[in-house]
Subunit: 367 residues, 2 copies
């Protein structure tokens, strides 16, 4: 049971939000049973910053309470779940070779994968302030788009998802001091599921030469529970072989990927089953790269994998890939079809890893 504990922020009624742990269909009221003030705070950031010793100790103490049936539990249905941590910087990677190749083939058939892709984990900074908790309605964004020779402003007609796994930084690092690839376990607290909502029409028009901006910055949803990385030890696997071999700063003494099975549902229908184990760049490589230039880490920083896609159609983690930019609509039960998202659509991403439930991240499109 103990390895299934995930941490988040909950409230009941008008009470102040504080730290809780998910236990099946209940919330364990951590703020009530563990004395440390960090558990009374309305974000996990204090606990995140406390480091591995505190993380391990909290899980051990809570596990003992559960074993003695002494844990104060609140039914999940009575709890309101909040954004689990104040997001410092949010970085989004692009680490699925199938996703990068698919998107590249659509827009650059002559060069689907740029020459840099196999040398470094490509990534960029997203907007931390628009990271929201699962369940937050997603307002269809307006923006500039090019239609033929015309440049217009209006609601996106290519509203998409990206099914991703996010990694939450616990212990920070000082400016100017890179984190070694073999030390990432001291810094990464845990894992969330993440949907990086995207407006493909804005993105196509705005991205040259500085990358995505308003096509991404309107909303990024994360699951309310952060699963400690330690709890996923049983899901560690050897990552795919990399060619060319990575440079030394990206070469771990003991490389690992994670066997996380994702499922993407649109209005209840499963439309994709992306497998995280296929990701080319590992979380450790992403974090080592992110800090290689001396960039500082802070508790609450978030980095995401990029869209998780695999080599087959039913493993594609975005609608732009699933429908090939609208060319091949997907069929839903009840006879309807979709290219991109319509108002009222609900997208839910869930996942399991080594028998552990990673929860879900969901959102419904408001017109």
């Amino acid at each position: 049971v103990s390895t299934d504990l995930a941490f988040g922020i909950f409230s009941v009624g008008n009470r102040r939000p504080r730290v809780g742990a998910r236990l099946g269909d209940h919330v364990l009221d951590v703020g009530r049973v563990l004395g440390d003030p960090v558990f009374k705070e309305p974000t996990l950031n204090g606990f995140l910053a406390a480091g591995r010793g505190a993380w391990t100790s909290a899980v051990e103490r809570l596990t003992r309470l559960i074993e003695r049936d002494a844990a104060p539990l609140v039914p999940l249905s009575d709890a309101k779940l909040h954004l689990p941590f104040a997001v410092g910087d949010y970085v989004d990677f692009y680490s699925s070779i199938d996703h990068a190749t698919n998107v590249g083939r659509m827009f650059r058939p002559d060069e689907p994968l740029f020459s840099n892709w196999r040398h470094l984990p490509i990534g960029y900074h997203g907007r931390a302030g628009t990271v929201v908790v699962s369940g937050t309605p997603i307002v269809r964004p307006s923006g500039q788009q090019r239609v033929g020779d015309d440049v217009r402003f209006g609601p996106t007609s290519k509203l998409d998802i990206e099914a991703e796994v996010g990694f939450v930084i616990g212990v920070g690092s000082p400016l100017g001091r890179p984190v070694s690839i073999d030390d990432v376990g001291e810094h990464i607290f845990g894992v969330v599921l993440l949907n990086d909502w995207s407006a493909r029409d804005f993105q196509a028009w705005e991205s040259k030469p500085l990358g995505p901006f308003l096509g991404k910055s309107f909303a990024t949803s994360i699951s309310p529970w952060v699963v400690p990385l330690d709890a996923l030890a049983g899901a560690r696997i050897a990552p795919p072989r990399q060619d060319p071999p990575p440079l030394p700063y990206l070469t771990a003494a003991d490389a690992w990927g994670l066997d996380i099975a994702l499922e993407v549902r649109l209005n209840g229908d499963v439309i994709s089953r992306p497998a995280f184990k296929r990701m080319y760049w590992t979380p450790a490589q992403q974090l080592a790269h992110l800090t290689a230039n001396g960039a500082r880490l802070r508790a609450g920083d978030l980095f995401a994998s990029g869209t998780v896609s695999g080599p087959t159609v039913d493993e594609r983690g975005s609608l732009i890939e699933l429908t090939w930019d609208g060319r091949d609509p997907i069929a839903l039960s009840g006879g309807s079809t979709r290219t991109y998202l319509e108002d009222g659509d609900t997208v839910t991403i869930s996942a399991t890893a080594a028998g552990i439930d990673l929860g879900q991240v969901t959102g419904t499109i408001a017109g």
Copy 2:
């Protein structure tokens, strides 16, 4: 005198940092004379969030104290200056047509300015966690770079500056609710000078297709004093004509630019005098664009103009432009020359606008 007040965070000896206002070569101890608790905080964020009424009232009350010679002053030389606000999201624009064209000509002679550039203010998110206060040493970053056919990891050999003006958000905005271009004055508190340090070799290798990442995220320096936008009313000018005319959401009832004269010194020698009045996209257009998709604003968000450059060589705000990527070294006094920055070099950007001193942002390269 009153219009010259700028706000920052200072400390003396071991005392806790709190809000101060710059007054010539003194710091006015705002935390001591104004009762509101926001002035006792170690960041300006509480004051920023308090809104226009509070901003105006604070300036008026401080002005009266100064006029009565009742303001508690600390010599600037006794004060330690801190990062003035906790940075929420940091966005960097690309709004000088001369800068964009210069950089474009170097790398894409066939298409220096992409077709989107005149339609929207191109920008991207930078790393908020590595924004540092003026005077912080800049550690030369290491990173991946391509040299001929070889991909290597090592210290940058193209360490550059970007002379910019940054705008500090006071009052936030809710998710899903764009800020109208005519309301930006309710949200922008003030102005800082900003040096967006850049490693051009990393940037050239990593930027396709998602934009700059480690070539920028190692350090961004800002001046310690935030000059209220209201104090710069006398520097407002008509912005350059835009062709094509901007879309309605980028069209202000009363468009304004700012006549800010920047000066860039390298080891004491003036190497450039960029004129902010030449910027193609205005701060109001940048903010309206940034929120057009419903992106939320928070107190402490920072958006910067992008490198300020003009049409002549001595108005170029970066070394990549001044030396044409190293082809044309610049001469310094004492007979030395520079292409990019060397260890020990000090870069200082200062500015004035309508007789108001905007202070300076400085940094020295540590090897």
